[in-house]
């Protein structure tokens, strides 16, 4: 299973340059917003997740993966662990961005990043992944077009909901809910994926 996560990272290396573009340009655009850490942290997560799933579809890799000595539920588990990893990376990116901004441009009033905000970001990233992955497995036959459109819609919904939630209240509760949703999502995805034909 670890092999699969390494595989996703190896494959992502090829599109790293493109990813870096997102990671650098986005913070610069959103720095002045008080809720700015959200897009800065969430977009990289979405992009990395989308990248790893579209790579699988592009080459019809599910045929290859299904032929390897590995259980289908572990193939799905690896994707979810990847999503967890990307979520953490997103939090780190948002944190680093805020530090760099504070040091480089002290005149800018950047109010982030506190622990509460980091927890909130993590929760939202997990929620996004929990919504995205089962849909990806369900609709993957229709090709990446459909999945990407659905993903973009979900991303904007997640962002607009989050701009309305006050930042400091119920952070831990949100995280717990997110983790629960994540697990539920995993079991759903395993059920969908186990019945698929490739």
């Amino acid at each position: 299973m670890l092999n699969l996560i390494i595989k996703d990272l190896l494959v992502m290396r090829k599109s790293l340059l493109f990813l870096l573009m997102y990671i650098i340009i986005l913070p610069l655009s959103f720095i002045h917003l008080s809720g700015g850490f959200l897009p800065v942290g969430l977009f990289p997560v979405a992009v990395m997740l989308m990248n790893s799933t579209s790579n699988d579809l592009k080459n019809k890799n599910h045929v290859l993966l299904s032929s390897l000595p590995i259980r289908r539920k572990h193939i799905v588990a690896a994707k979810y662990l990847g999503a967890l990893f990307y979520s953490l990376v997103g939090v780190v990116i948002a944190f680093v961005t805020s530090m760099v901004t504070r040091l480089a441009m002290p005149q800018t009033e950047v109010a982030w990043m506190s622990v509460g905000q980091a927890v909130m970001l993590l929760s939202l990233a997990l929620i996004f992944s929990s919504l995205y992955l089962p849909i990806f497995y369900w609709l993957s036959d229709q090709g990446m077009q459909t999945v990407n459109i659905v993903m973009t819609i979900i991303l904007f919904i997640t962002l607009s909901i989050s701009f309305q939630i006050p930042v400091y209240t119920g952070s831990v509760l949100l995280l717990l809910a997110a983790i629960l949703l994540f697990l539920l999502s995993y079991f759903t995805a395993v059920r969908i994926f186990s019945r698929k034909d490739f």
């Binding site: 092999n3 190896l10 032929s67 000595p69 590995i70």
Partner: protein, 288 residues
């Protein structure tokens, strides 16, 4: 001993279905799965590998049930799919780095040996490989971990005649220790003429026969004669008939019966596997 045992397999795909498929693949031999395009060969093979999920039925490999024991079973299977499903942007070496760790009995030396033998440069991107080279790469990957069963889906399709023969020689060489088994699907019957021991013939989702190649060739007979010999009763004898300008050609499934009916009046020949496939698939009378 059957290395693969299939019982009452069903699969419905829209208008196509595999119905009540049952057969066994014998250990230590080469079994060829033949059938026309769309007969269900690839689907059957994918079901054995649990790439496609059957609607009902049982599959057992090495005596263990699929998909319950799929992890242990697949460690011992070398699988070569009909197309290349690798990450096109990666190189051969990188792709190997992804696949090799899954197999406990991977041998790097054997893999490098095959790369040399097939003349595959390790740093070439997969999208830059020709079709034949992709097949060679699939083969190199499949053969580099110790396996007891090699399953190949249309391995010779699209290959040049030179490599096709090389491939068949490699397969024949693998079988020599009588422990390994090979199952491959094809619609190129001449490949089977060359190396198959057992033949399983699939047509429109159903098994026509599954037996030793020599048996098949002894059992079937091609009857060539004048049209007058054909009447309603005698036509029943044939699996398929083809009317030519000078008479008719018919495939009969029972040589002794055909001999007693037509022996004196017509020419009886041993059919090729291609004849058997042609007449069975066509069935009924056809104008030449």
């Amino acid at each position: 001993m059957n290395v693969i045992e299939i019982r009452n397999l069903h699969k419905q795909y829209g208008s196509f279905s595999l119905q009540d498929v049952s057969f066994g693949v014998k250990q230590g031999f080469i079994t060829g799965l033949i059938g026309p395009n769309g007969s269900g060969k690839s689907t059957l093979i994918k079901m054995i590998m649990n790439i496609v999920v059957p609607d009902s039925g049982e599959i057992a490999v090495f005596g263990q049930k699929m998909p319950d024991c799929e992890k242990e079973i697949k460690q011992r299977i070398a699988f070569v799919p009909d197309e290349s499903y690798y990450y096109e942007d990666l190189t051969i070496a990188e792709m190997k780095r992804i696949i090799a760790p899954f197999y406990k009995r991977w041998s790097e030396d054997v893999f490098q040996g095959y790369l040399e033998q097939f003349e595959l440069p390790a740093n070439k991107k997969i999208k830059d490989l020709s079709k034949g080279m992709k097949m060679k790469f699939s083969l190199a990957l499949a053969l580099s971990h110790e396996t007891d069963l090699l399953i190949m889906d249309e391995p010779t399709a699209g290959l040049d005649p030179v490599f096709r023969r090389e491939l068949l020689d490699i397969l024949a060489g693998l079988i020599l220790d009588e422990q390994k088994s090979i199952l491959f699907s094809t619609h190129i019957t001449t490949d089977l003429d060359r190396i198959a021991d057992y033949i399983t013939f699939l047509n429109r989702g159903q098994i026509v026969f599954s037996e030793a190649k020599d048996n098949v060739l002894e059992r079937y007979v091609l009857v060539k004669g004048n049209k007058e010999l054909l009447d309603r009763d005698t036509s029943q004898l044939f699996v398929g008939i083809r009317e030519t300008g000078v008479g008719f050609e018919g495939l009969a499934a029972n040589r002794s019966e055909a001999a007693s009916q037509f022996g004196a009046h017509a020419v009886l020949e041993t059919p090729s596997l291609e004849d058997i496939m042609f007449f069975t698939v066509k069935g009924g009378g056809i104008r030449a």
